[in-house]
Amino acid sequence: MSVLVIAEQRGGTLNRATWETIAAAQQTGEALHIAVVGHGVDAVAAEVAAARCERVLVVDDAALAEYTADGFVLALSALIEQEQPGLVFLPHTYQTRDFAPALAARLKRALVTDVTAIRKDGDRFVYVRPMFQGKLSADVAAGGPPPHLVTCQIGAYRADSAARGDAPAAIGKAAIAVDAARIRQRPEAPFKEARQAVDLSQAARIVAVGRGIKAQENLKIAEQLAQAFGAEVAASRPICDAGWLPMDRQIGSSGQTVAPKLYVALGISGAIQHLVGMKGSRTIVAINKDADAPIFEVADYGIVGDLFEVVPAIVAELNRA
């Protein structure tokens, strides 16, 4: 059996999450092939050819210069039918989420998303994935004929644990052409909203608030704590969705990724979309009334309690010292 990893690149730059997916695929112990899809992506192919793998396959077509769901489904369904891999691995990025379910549906194959661990059970694989916003984990099995498609959660595998080969792997071109007339999406150039006022990635300390803060007027409790710590205030997505804090204060997959010395999570349950943006923090403190909240899976120090009592006590303690 062979495993095919679909590398992710945009504008000729490799997405680092690809290395995490390579690391995951290597753990299966099966022969690894890596596909690079796009136009003018030789540099990306050369970069991933450093991985310990059988070979790198490039699907190059002018119709794939800009990412589109239709273009990638056409290219990858043809590639998978041609190569007949036993398993297909992809990073669980927004781009993968945009096309992988359609790819699996077109191929009539199972897709297991957001996988954090894989183990062999007899002649099949068992995949671990979060459910219920990360409050539970599930062991799942995929059914139907191979290849099953698997997306690997960002941060679940270490990019630097991907094994490098003794020499670069061979790079080949796949004989696949994409009919541009069948691509229905017309993308414009990616852009950022008005320049971000705060760069939270540089903050040494962050106090972040989540749904547990309950009301906008309660934000002042978090602000007092941030002031006492000398920290920036940040938030999980629902707080920014509600307009209680500006979007540029959002931590998580759709916001900023941070790794401060100190991260204090107030009333944040710890959905995976939030955790990926902060779990690299050096010291994590979680204050939450729910002892089973997933935030406690990554916290160094936890206080299970009412943040409206605990936070003023911490502020008093800091001001007393």
């Binding site: 379910p101 403190v285 990554v298 008093a316």
Partner: protein, 254 residues
């Protein structure tokens, strides 16, 4: 414009999850349920599009009988009618099964636009919308933060990672998966609740469900990545311990 909104009923965030004896699903017999949050944003977006463009908003749900609760709620918020593919087997079904059930129920309705939330708060596959698009032969775009209708076509703002966005143009009919926060939600008025009682809920038959392609072998509490030190006692006690730990052990305070 004829718009379908696919919705799912999920357990409320506050409900304490407990796993059943077989460890294959949660003990949801006594759970409280709500409309999946991203689907609520999809519904709101559909209602706003209808207010601008005219037309009809139809909510579609593939779920057990109890899902009538969220269907009624969607009708009370302003949807015109509903289609319910009703089967207890759909409560914990995989994405392919739910998408197949929805596709069978809506394929003959000739919708101009189909909206779904980007993922569900329970199983969180993030697949149903995109699989449904493929099944219906529609183009799609995901994680959408703005929808513009121009000359019978769509221009939508897609969220990328790390604060990036991208506009995508696509023809209709099309399917979009909607990101939370795209709009401000409305809530049902008393008038809406009364009006909902007279609105049609069509029961659609369940297509023969194929073998599930994804099976839950075991559900359990996640393993901790770190050994968390839980600080206990009164709020003042916990605060005192925390500051001492941060200063002397973690050394993140001066």
């Amino acid at each position: 414009m004829k718009i379908a909104v696919c919705i799912k009923q999920v357990v409320t965030r506050e409900w304490q999850l407990r796993v059943n004896d077989q460890k294959t699903w949660i003990r949801d017999a006594d759970a409280s349920f709500e409309l999946n949050e991203p689907d609520a944003y999809a519904l709101e977006e559909a209602l706003r599009l209808k207010e601008k463009q005219g037309g009809e908003v139809v909510v579609c749900c593939a779920g057990p009988a109890r899902a009538a609760q969220v269907i009624r709620e969607a009708l009370a918020r302003g949807a015109d009618r509903a289609i319910h593919v009703e089967s207890d087997a759909l409560a914990a079904a995989d994405a392919a099964t739910i998408a197949a059930a929805l596709a069978a129920a809506i394929k003959d309705e000739a919708f101009d636009l189909v909206l779904t939330g980007l993922q569900s708060d329970d199983q969180g596959f993030g697949q149903v919308g995109v699989v449904l698009a493929e099944t219906l032969g529609m183009p799609h775009a995901t994680i959408i933060m703005e929808v513009q209708v121009q000359d019978g076509a769509l221009r939508v703002k897609r969220e990328l990672e790390g604060g990036w966005f991208q506009w995508i143009a696509l023809p209709m009919p099309a399917l979009l998966t909607i990101q939370s926060g795209i709009n401000q939600l409305r809530y049902a008025t008393l008038k809406g609740i009364m009006a909902a009682k007279k609105k049609e809920i069509r029961k659609a038959s369940v297509p023969s469900l194929g073998e599930p392609v994804q099976q839950i072998l075991s559900l359990y509490l996640p393993q901790k990545a770190k050994q968390t030190q839980l600080l206990t006692g009164s709020a003042a006690d916990a605060a005192r311990q925390l500051i001492a730990k941060l200063r002397d052990e973690a050394r993140v305070l001066q």
